[in-house]
Amino acid sequence: MTAMTTGPAGTAGGAASATQNGTANGTANGTAKGTAKGTAMGTAQGTANGTAQAARAGRTAGGRDGGTTTLTLVRAINEGLRRSMEEDPKVLVMGEDVGKLGGVFRVTDGLQKDFGEDRVIDTPLAESGIIGTAIGLALRGYRPVCEIQFDGFVFPAADQIISQLAKMRMRSLGAVRLPVVVRIPFGGGIGAVEHHSESPEVHFTHTGGLRVVACSNPADAYHMIRQAIRCDDPVIFFEPKRRYWDKAPVDLDAEPDLPLGKGRVVRPGTDVTLLAYGPMVRTCLEAAVAAEEDGRSLEVIDLRSLSPLDIDLVAESVQRTGRCVVVHEAPVFCGYGAELAARVTERCFYHLEAPVLRVGGFATPYPPSRLEDHYLPDLDRVLDAVDRTFAY
């Protein structure tokens, strides 16, 4: 499967060229969507601007302050990959267009030039082949980092991920370890064509033998990709593609402050706990800022790891706040929020003032992009759910 050239690949390129032209608002995104309700990228915050600036900063790697550099999320992962490859000659990068092109989002930009074609492999165009050969390389002692170009293209590789990658260790009674990372840009909000905006995380959290993580910001992205590569278990690594151009300071020489499997309170609060991961973390932070004006204090937790789940962190928070809202882009029905609601209820039953509420996608296929703003949770839908938790 390949990216539609008029789709996100075009979008990514569009954003970059808009930056170079200095026409920050004219992102391909804005043009493609052009709808009234504030684009998803610009959720209540004029982020089209931020996006463009981030893209520029990312390309030139900003200003350095010791080990600290301002990076886009794309660039942060790129730096994380680079560091990992420098540290361990067994680390390989493989996928469609990851070499010369540097990936359709440029996450692997420059790596092939520096590490060669044997370590940064432009693969044939077949997802099952990418994961299947990565398993073989791992059996030979390599640590492949695979890129699945877009979320919706992971399904041709489903057998290799779910039936092979996840299960081979048990099949061998522990003799085999498969340190394979599968990077998947996920989620919507970039005005893409079908299959380029999905959130398939629960297919993988439902599969024992896989670790599943989602980064939400540049600093975590940098550290988490390095931790995922060092991990001896297979890791499905979700990248919030609409936040690819968010920028933030990253200390490239620092040690990560959390293990891969732990979540983080990204904004403390007292009234409601918002649980999110990946692209929805920023949405929740924006909601928390807005709620503050209404006198409500929202605590935002970035789960970071979906398998395992840092349930202790979640339970501690909800036991304090008494209210919990889960936010993700994936459909609510049988979504990750269903698991969270059940576990929070089990752990916090006597502390809850209201049922755990969920905000997410509908039980439909992902809609055409002109409708995606209605489908994707935004600040207003999060705040609406917060209001409803106070109605009990």
Binding site: G132, G136, L137, R140, Q164, S172
Partner: protein, 370 residues
Amino acid sequence: MNTNAPVGAEAYGAAAPPELVQLLTPEGERVEHPDYDVDLTPEQVRSLYRDLVLVRRIDMEAVALQRQGELGIWASLLGQEAAQIGSGRALSDQDMVFPTYREHGVAWCRDVDPIKLLGLFRGVSHGGWDPAEHNFHLYTIVIGAQTLHAVGYAMGIQRDGAEAAAIVYFGDGATSQGDVNESFIWAAVNNAPVVFFCQNNQWAISEPLEKQSRIPLYRRASGFGFPGIRVDGNDVFACLAVTREALRNAREGGGPTLIEAYTYRMGAHTTSDDPTRYRVASELEAWKLKDPIERVKAYLFKNELADQEFFEAVELEADELGKDLRRRCLELPDPDPLAIFENVYVDPHALLEEEREQFAAYLASFEGVA
């Protein structure tokens, strides 16, 4: 041949009689081939014969154990012994094997204890041997998935600069799988040191070859850009010679080869299958005349390379092997219930630890209850 082949199929070779590399006829006559030969000492031929007999005996014992309820299921290799022993004995120690779930003969060549194979089909593990210890990967049940693992492994060999090859086994049905075709592409564009060993046993459960292909399978390779060759899969000499050459070529940088070992699944697909529903008995009778073991026996006899004493000794050894295997199979303990949580992850996983703790407490709650 597919009588329903669309007009024009002949142009792609569907009607042409495929060439078959054969070095030993069903009657036990040694024949020459312009490109392939084996130079075997009498001792080596006797050793191949012994392998063939012993793996057939392991297989028979396993079928019997299944019939008696000791195995959940068994996938018999009956009829495919020469393809497996011939190719298996062509391997060097450093070559890596990627099997399906029917490669009991190759497992034998790699010194995998047959009790491990029985353990899988009994349900005490999903495999449980260390692939690196034997250079024999775990059985793969999803059809064709292991072909990609083999090619990836071969790409690793290339990067290591090692003198080794990977060999991957699959069947005629598997050639329809996307993974197998993807693996052909990967192997070709990477010039990977891998040998694709397809045992065409004519049947994918109930579906005959014409449901999978309109050309002979070995000709598929040419479209992917590497050589394909058809070998008499019931001729252990030919399988040895052809596989040895393909492996050598792969190790020396010559890239992949597809070998189609033309053979016959003389038994059912598995012990759960009933072939009388889809194939005629006369077909089996015809293939019995091409039995892979009988022709080696005839060759040894005719050339006075073995006496009656040898054959009796091999039979006796086979019986002892079968008996020992049966005893050890019956003694296989069920795993501890908490083993469910073992070997899922390398590093600790909070959810599994929680579930293990809860399940252990639940089990403990029955202790002392009459």
